[in-house]
Amino acid sequence: MEKELLNEQEIERILNRITHEILERNKGAENICLIGIVTGGVYLAERIKKKIEQIESMNVPLGSLDISFYRDDINLSKKRKAIKPTHIPFSIDEKKVILVDDVLYTGRSTRAAMDALMDFGRPAEIQLAVLIDRGHRELPIMANYTGKYIPTSRNEKIKVYLKEIKGKDSVVLITQ
């Protein structure tokens, strides 16, 4: 069974709010950079970057991060998932890094992403922005910017569809 949780307009409003929260918390866009976690987070980070440009007329560095090499759940005997290139064409040393992901769940992806970032340099701060927080954390991790908190059960699935890949913006809850 599928149920739409957020439509295009709601996602747009959420991203507007998150953008303003980022700017408020960091007192502008000075010294910040956006890094999206592959794949969904990259498109969300791109949209936030454009919104910051409109509001502050500032060009914020944008990178993408594939966390596959940092996962703690590689099952050696199972087929690996395809990897998208990581692209961080700037130094993150002493920067405030805003990590962007579509769904926050166990926290393990965020842990992997933070480990990866530490290999790229020594950021002044790492902040986390997510579109959906669905609960069930297995690690002590929380987001600084949350689009929507949606309590779920573990056998439910959250699908985030974005225009850039799926042609439409929508967040859907799938119950088996």
Binding site: F69, Y70, L76, S77, R80, A82, I83, K84, P85, D119
Partner: protein, 302 residues
């Protein structure tokens, strides 16, 4: 896929998956910290029954960049000289609980034999005159990086083809793409039964003048039983790639060599050090490609 024994068994899709993954690892190698924790706590062993410094070093670095623990086992220090069979060597190694075995052996089929008798993932690092799959993959990756594609390219493989597992693996790989493959060299070093998709040239200039890629092979004196060439000096005179060739080669040709190269035999110093040579890029790409292969293989649970 548990093992990488040869290119022959791979599909074009398998190859593209490896090359795409290698691209991600190439990015890792460009970072300040060139190591990822991906395979932490797992073990690889490099089993070299034939002398090799480059391939072994490249595999070892690839393994270390993936955070594997690495053991090296080579012929001079091994018990093979004491009479142990390959099977018993393998069982001994298995008792160490290794997850990846990289093997080089002078007998064709050795890697396949090992793969069939162990749950570990086995990677063929050269078996006799059969295959050297990671070399062909890194060559393809290097061509792709410079040319942006494999399809539609004219690729000339020059030199000692019959003794070369590199040539064989490259032939299998390039045949899975829409490429125009040529074998160029003296009749004594070219196969009599070349596949239909390969054009044979007994003249260097004719074979390479419109090629997009020229792959030179090392003259493998250690594998030649008999007189295949009259002398190295004469080989260089007739078949060596010298700077005069730039007068008729394509402007954007790339020149490759799997190493170790013999300057003054297959290639002149001017050509080896020219801007068209991507020989050192091949060395760097070897690490990224081997990381990709190791990462993608799936050992069986022991």
């Amino acid at each position: 896929m548990k093992d990488l024994i040869g290119i022959k068994e791979l599909s074009r899709q398998n190859i593209e998956e490896i090359l795409n993954t290698a691209k991600a690892f190439k990015e890792v190698l460009s970072r300040d910290i060139k190591k990822v924790p991906t395979l932490r706590g797992k073990t690889a062993i490099n089993l070299f029954f034939e002398p090799s410094t480059r391939t072994r070093t490249s595999f070892e670095l690839a393994e270390k960049r993936l955070s594997l623990d690495v053991l090296n086992f080579s012929i001079s220090t091994s018990s093979v000289v004491k009479g142990e069979t390959l099977y018993d060597t393998l069982k001994t190694i298995e008792a160490y609980n290794v997850d990846y075995i990289v093997i080089r052996h002078s007998s064709s089929g050795a890697a396949k034999f090992v793969a069939e008798h162990t749950p570990a993932s086995v990677i063929n690092a050269g078996d006799g005159t059969n295959e050297h799959p990671t070399q062909a993959l890194l060559d393809a990756f290097s061509i792709l990086e410079v040319k942006g594609r494999l399809d539609g390219l004219k690729i000339a493989i020059v030199g000692d083809i019959i003794h070369s597992r590199v040539a064989r693996s490259n032939l299998y790989l390039l045949s899975k793409f829409d490429t125009d493959i040529r074998f160029v060299g003296p009749p004594t070093l070219l196969p009599e039964d070349a596949p239909d998709n390969v054009k044979i040239f007994y003249d260097l200039k004719e074979g390479i003048k419109d090629a997009d890629v020229v792959m030179l092979l090392r003259i493998q004196l250690e594998r030649q039983k008999g007189a295949f060439i009259s002398s190295l000096k004469e080989y260089f005179h007739v078949w060596g790639l010298k700077k005069e060739a730039f007068s008729y080669l394509k402007n954007d040709v790339i020149i490759m060599h799997p190493g170790p190269m013999n300057r003054g035999v297959e290639i002149s110093t001017e050509v080896a050090d020219s801007s068209r040579s991507i020989i050192l890029r091949q060395v760097t790409n070897g690490i990224a490609t081997r990381m990709a292969v190791i990462y993608l293989l799936t050992p069986k649970e022991a």
